[in-house]
Symmetry: C2
Subunit: 280 residues, 2 copies
């Protein structure tokens, strides 16, 4: 069994506006990261929410999301001690397939893949793939690029090339974090992508489930859009001059909810659980 749909989500840069402290904001971001990783989300888009004067936490959101997605062995190199990561130590790890442990160099096989960082040393490219020593890298890349490397030659002459998409045979290989100036530009740029807009005032998702499943036979990507703690997607789109009714799939994912509100971290996890259930 395999799920061929690539999932992305979009969250606003005001996503943390209902948390007061940096500690609680950090924990909330880690909950987004966990939910996305459990359900194999490939891209997390952070869009600018124009409905609020709230001082946004965009830097905190993207830094923690990227940090948690980075294999442990690359973190020291990529993330010098900084205020945004003050609470990184208390966040639940993702433990996903691209977070590989240290292995004995002699046990590496041709075709093995690992996430690495490209470094230029004395004019030559090499990769830090968390193996205790640098690996010769054959290919085009820039100093500092994070790439998935594939071993093309074994110990003691370890050498790696950039892995192709087809080399990554794991169910999941982490997410990317992207930024969007607003939501409508993100939605209009999505021609090969179907969009699912989540909203308490949408129709029950059950009533459109079959239509969405059918639709996913024709497109490869599903982008699931979430609103902000203080404004729903109706308001956010309206502020951008768009009418939510012009979108095909506007769904209430949690009909008959027992609480007044569903928190964003709950909405993301719950929605992805339902989508994973119907698409796998």
């Amino acid at each position: 069994m395999k799920c061929n749909v690539r999932l992305s989500i979009a969250i606003p840069d005001s996503a943390l506006s209902d948390e007061d402290s940096k500690r609680d904001k950090s924990i909330k971001v880690s909950q987004f990261a966990r939910a996305c990783s459990v359900f194999r989300v490939s891209t997390i888009h952070i869009y600018h929410d124009r409905t609020t004067e709230y001082v946004k936490d965009r830097a905190l959101i993207k830094t923690i999301l990227r940090y948690l997605n980075t294999p442990q062995y690359l973190r020291k190199r990529l993330y010098p001690i900084q205020g945004l990561l003050e609470y990184a130590g208390i966040l639940h790890p993702l433990i996903a397939p691209h977070h590989k442990p240290l292995v004995d160099l002699r046990k590496l096989k041709v075709g093995d893949i690992r996430v690495g960082i490209i470094l230029k040393q004395q004019g030559k490219l090499c990769a830090d793939a968390g193996l205790g020593r640098l690996i010769n890298f054959k290919g085009r890349a820039n100093d500092g690029d994070m790439v998935t490397v594939k071993f093309s030659s074994v110990y003691p002459n370890l050498e790696a090339v950039e892995a192709l998409e087809s080399d990554i045979t794991y169910n999941y290989w982490g997410y990317e974090v992207k930024e969007a100036p607003n939501l409508s530009c993100l939605l209009s740029a999505s021609a090969s992508t179907e969009v699912l807009i989540t909203s308490k005032s949408g129709k029950n998702f059950g009533s459109m489930e079959q239509e969405l499943i059918k639709r996913m036979n024709y497109v490869d990507n599903l982008l699931i859009v979430f609103g902000a703690p203080k404004s729903g997607l109706f308001d956010i789109l309206e502020r951008e001059g768009k009418d939510i009714r012009s979108y095909r799939f506007v769904a209430n994912m949690f009909p008959l909810q027992g609480t007044k509100t569903v928190r964003l971290e709950e909405a993301i996890l719950g929605t992805l659980a339902i989508i994973n259930h119907i698409l796998t």
Copy 2:
């Protein structure tokens, strides 16, 4: 639209074994409470997990669950300051229909319902329903009972009786917390109840969804069982001399999961989201 299925969940008393501090344990319990309230769970069973020597947090789990379910206006009376509630102040509230605000006594109508505490004052029963004064209560109850009262007479001669199940016309009216000495006794006591056992080694839930939906035409209750952070239900049932294969619905709710593990708080919310989706 209405969901007629009564949902319960069962969690082990070792549910917090992967959290170190009382703060993080408390937050985790509040996540259980939130998930159960969003999806209208009527009973949370806490069963004893025999597979671990871990010092259990049963008192912490049940106290915080009950505290969060209690309307704010009754908390001072029911919960004197205590160590188990040290972090109650930082937990996300449920904000469910039975958490009613203070209302003007003159605006109460016959038939209005509120959660109250029965008190015996000078030989007479009355109820504290968070209205700034006690209400005469007609009926049988003991001092200290928490009951849902229904107003049978309006201001200034306010009087209330115990509400019947049929008086509670809200979608959701909170959960009960019950304790079970072990899991198998809980499962065998469930004749009018179907049981869904969640396990990563179960079959994909999708393969049994239709069968479960059909089954729910014949029983009113669905009990969803969760394992512990450190032992799955296969082990927990085996330690009780039961074979997990003797149960009809043993489901992997999260096929193709991208992370090594799904945390208990994630499993509860994700599972309830899926069940709510298929049953409403």
